[in-house]
């Protein structure tokens, strides 16, 4: 059957069972938009800025097991999308971004809305393609989805010149992909896994440290099984939250720069670290020399060999897909029913660290941000999807909302992109219709993608925006207070809009909450009376609240600043 390139794009998306495309039209993608118009299988979600389209597609992936798709036009459409692509890349999120391009015969001539898409996106994609012949279009689309979701996932860009979308060819969607240059490893090396089991069984002070890899590979249940089998403490990275149930007694909390005292002390003093789908990054282990100063054995399971021994030397590297490796580990432990080591002394020590109650805070006359998150957790019974932006509120959300399930905590961990929260909430709602979704944000971050309030109205998305408004770029202010002798350079936000009126002007519900006693009633009202509406809750909070514990940049994990020290 002979189809135009634009028809082929749509047919490929249908073949991939894509139900939503997040995008924004423009000259180079008009043929594709015309074909979108003629069919009903794929719904197009019109955003107000391309960055939001990519963030929404990204969150669609994060909160489901599917691949999000974004569609943008050439030139500025692409450059606006770059922040979204880089955000997904840093967190290994599978996504396909389709970009319009000027016709092939204009490429290189500085045509209207031309940019070097492949060149601009190259460092922040898993792979990208420029389609130069309509005959290559279907196989390229197939490869794009295949590459995005296999191995270590990541975003893939397909750049499609306008003439390619008009040209015709025979359409046949390939059933499978064969690429001699791309064959990601799945199974871990059995010899290495045996070594790991031995090491785990001999451990006296072990810790299981897991990251986004467990969430992305849907390995949570297997992780729980392993942890229960061994009775080892478990810590999660920011990206790994929900990978292990936060309310379980073996969970010692998030580790790293703003991790709990017990998580960081357990990590620092462990004699065996089992790292799974995590990458020992600078926000997690602090100073690598300080971390490396303690003798310990490290087992590292990751699908990406380049993540292993990148920042920390590893004793037992295991390259493989996390669930497959966990299966092997469990099987070897069960062969001969090997007894787990006695770690009761270790637990006693950990409980001692726990007793510090490092997340304690005092709720006084002003609303404390921690209190809002805790109450949100109670009101939603821990069942909500939480998206966040970047800054203090992100850390409060990670510390005080206890995630028991994976894919419920949606935030930009690697790139740290302010402005993702609202478009993330949109993507979550399309992937999980009817779910409770709260966007924990601040008055700085929310304004970076505030235009999406309009999209939320168009598609009646009942996002609950929890705006922790301290009138400050809180995390910047915190660093300036601690490390720049309180010189608050450009961290005070003046001329804020009246968020209540702003929300109302878009047709949403707005609330301002200024007293601690009003926090719970407002949250309850938002999730019951206004269940089906977007509610913008502007919480006026203590402007001096800081995030603790804190491991200052360049310091070691056991050199935490605790709130009680101040």
């Amino acid at each position: 059957m002979t189809l135009t390139g634009a028809e082929i794009v749509i047919r490929c998306l249908q073949e991939e069972k894509v139900d939503y495309v997040f995008g924004y039209p423009g000259g180079s993608v008009l043929h594709i938009y015309d074909e979108l118009f003629k069919q009903d299988d794929i719904k197009h979600i019109l955003v107000r800025h391309e960055q939001a389209a990519v963030h929404a597609a990204d969150a669609y992936s994060r909160s489901s097991e599917r691949v999000g798709v974004a569609l943008v036009t050439s030139g500025p459409g692409v450059t606006n999308a770059v922040t979204g692509i880089a955000t997904a890349y840093m967190d290994s999120i599978p996504m396909v971004v389709l970009c319009g391009q000027v016709p092939t015969y204009y490429i290189g001539q500085d045509a209207f809305q031309e940019c070097d898409t492949v060149g601009i996106t190259r460092p922040c994609v898993k792979h990208n393609f420029l389609v130069k012949d309509v005959k290559d279009l279907a196989s390229t689309m197939k490869k794009a989805f295949h590459i995005a979701k296999t191995g270590r996932p990541g975003p893939v860009v397909v750049d499609i010149p306008k003439d390619i979308t008009a040209n015709k060819c025979e359409f046949e969607y390939p059933a499978s992909v064969q690429m001699r240059s791309y064959n990601p490893v799945v199974k871990g090396h059995l010899g290495q896994i045996k070594k790991a089991v031995q090491m785990l069984l001999e451990a006296k002070q072990p810790i299981i440290y897991t990251g986004g890899g467990v969430v992305l590979s849907d390995a949570s249940e297997k992780l729980v099984k392993l942890a229960k089998r061994l009775n080892f403490p478990v810590t999660n990275t920011l990206m790994g939250l929900g990978g292990y149930p936060a309310t379980d007694k073996q969970f010692v909390g998030m580790l790293g720069m703003h991790g709990t005292y017990e998580a960081n002390m357990t990590m620092q003093h462990a004699d065996v670290v089992l790292a799974i789908g995590a990458r020992f990054d600078d926000r997690v282990i602090g100073n690598p020399e300080h971390f490396g100063g303690v003798p310990r054995k490290i087992i590292h399971v990751d699908i990406d060999p380049s993540s292993i021994s990148k920042r920390v030397k590893v004793d037992v590297p295991i390259v493989g897909n996390v669930p497959d490796v966990l299966d092997e580990l469990l099987k070897l432990l069960d062969d001969g029913a090997k007894a787990a080591p006695d770690v009761s002394d270790w637990w006693q020590q950990i409980d001692g660290w726990r007793a510090k109650n490092s997340l304690g805070y005092k709720q006084g006359d002003l609303i404390e941000p921690q209190y809002v998150v805790e109450k949100l957790y109670e009101v939603t019974q821990g069942e909500a999807f939480i998206t966040s932006d970047v800054g203090q509120h992100q850390m409060f959300a990670a510390q005080y909302y206890k995630f028991d399930k994976p894919r419920r905590w949606i935030n930009s961990g690697g790139l740290g992109t302010m402005g993702v929260g609202l478009p993330y909430a949109m993507g979550v709602l399309f992937a999980n219709p009817g779910a409770q979704v709260a966007c924990i944000t601040g008055e700085g971050s929310i304004q970076m993608c505030i235009q999406e309030l309009s999209t939320c109205k168009q598609f009646e998305l009942p996002v609950k925006i929890i705006n922790l408004n301290n009138g400050m770029l809180g995390m910047v202010r915190q660093w300036q207070e601690m490390f720049y002798s309180k010189r608050y350079s450009q961290s005070y936000v003046t001329s804020l809009p009246d968020f209540v009126k702003l929300a109302e002007s878009y047709g949403h519900v707005g609330m301002r909450i200024e007293k601690p006693e009003d926090v719970v009633p407002a949250l309850k009202k938002a999730f019951t009376e206004y269940k089906d509406r977007l509610v913008f809750m502007d919480f006026i909070i203590d402007p001096e609240a800081n995030v603790y514990p804190m491991v200052a940049a360049g310091k070691g994990l056991s050199e935490m600043i605790l709130s009680e020290d101040l």
Partner: protein
């Protein structure tokens, strides 16, 4: 430590810039880089000379393997290998220097491939070190122009890099 890395990659537009971009983005050194298609026109072979510690080299190899266009990566300098580089050097060849240049070219087993009244172009092949010593052996004032291909290399004996 100096390493010679050989890469087989898909002979596709942009593949070179993926490799070059990786080196600059992650701060790895490139001393030289050569690339050309192989006997199989769908594959290119690239040779990169780089320096770095064992840890850095391990990362370079892993990161290269991660690129979707890269089919195979080998550190040639890990074992016995041959390396060659080609240099074309234009020198002033007048008066008594004319005979001297011819003699130097012969000593280094170079060939004179272009002759004018006042210049020679000498073609010289060898390891990078040999080319360096040829340049050092000449009177710097007589060198008009040099161009070098960068190193290409191949494993000795049974070491074969092929798909």
């Amino acid at each position: 430590m100096r390493h010679i890395i050989s890469i087989l990659l898909e002979n596709e537009a942009g593949a070179l810039s993926r490799v070059a971009g990786l080196f600059s983005a992650r701060g790895y050194n490139i001393e030289s880089l050569t690339v050309a298609p192989t006997e199989d026109a769908s594959l290119s072979r690239m040779t990169i000379v780089t320096t770095g510690s064992e840890d850095v080299l391990e990362q370079i190899t892993k990161q290269l393997n991660k690129l979707v266009d890269v089919v195979k990566v080998v550190d040639l300098s890990e074992a016995a290998h041959s390396e060659r580089e080609l240099m074309l050097i234009k020198v002033r060849a007048t008066g008594k220097d004319r005979e001297e240049m011819k003699r130097m070219a012969d000593i280094f087993r170079g060939r004179i491939i272009d002759v004018t009244d006042s210049t020679y172009v000498i073609e010289l092949t060898g390891t990078g070190a040999k080319l360096d010593s040829f340049i050092a052996a000449l009177d710097a004032g007589l060198i008009l122009e040099t161009v070098r291909t960068g190193v290409c290399g191949i494993g000795r004996g049974d070491r074969i890099l092929k798909v």
